[in-house]
Symmetry: C2
Subunit: 108 residues, 2 copies
DNA sequence: GAGAGTACATCGCGTGGCAAGGTAATCGCT
DNA sequence: AGCGATTACCTTGCCACGCGATGTACTCTC
């Protein structure tokens, strides 16, 4: 099953999705993608280009912090952790989504 | 109150919103914008550039049909009517929205 | 006659998802 | 030993589209 999420809904929500996966624990990029895929029962998995550009954006905005894992054996993994600002941004985005969702229900 | 709908949610949904306003009756561009504004209690009114480019897109895709009103006194008005394909597209988009909405609820 | 409201339209910018392509290590299978 | 699949990272370039800015033209009110 491919992604049932239209690109225009991904756009503007992928950052929030990623933050969501990091609330529970630090994760590395590839793991984030798989976590999202699992959470949507395979309905949507972010493309790599989308994932990494979002992560760069989040880091630039200070919403996540990155560090290299030291397993050093096998693929080197870059882990991401939410910052306090990231937690706040996630809560704000989620609230905005709830609001917009009800608006759209009346408009579509 | 300005638009509480983030551009990324407008994107990909404006076409469906417009189709929605045309289900009841034919309308002209400006009227469509005001109808949407009213339906959202002023929370969102599409910008003109957005409105007209969407209408051109809808027309190119055969989802609406345009004709000039003959009031000819005052501002000339260009009316739009949904086609059968437009009705089908609206129903499909709305169903897709319902599906995506529940997906996002789990992912955000 | 000035300003606000109605009504149409276009141009150019910036954002951001994604296809395509690249590198490199590990594991399983034959 | 050799090879594909999987894990894991990253970049470049295309294109769709909302929106700010701007322009035209008519009508109505003060």
């Amino acid at each position: 099953m491919a992604d049932a999420l239209p690109p225009d809904l991904v756009r503007g929500n992928i950052d929030t999705m990623i933050l969501r996966t990091l609330l529970r624990q630090d994760r590395y990029g590839y793991e984030i993608a798989k976590t999202i895929a699992a959470a949507s029962s395979g309905a949507y998995e972010p493309k790599e280009a989308t994932l990494y550009s979002s992560l760069r954006r989040l880091e630039a905005n200070g919403l996540v912090r990155a560090y290299w894992g030291d397993e050093s054996l096998g693929g080197r993994r870059k882990y991401y952790a939410v910052t306090d600002a990231g937690r706040r941004a996630h809560a704000a985005s989620k609230a905005a989504w709830e609001h917009a969702k009800h608006l759209l229900d009346d408009l579509l």
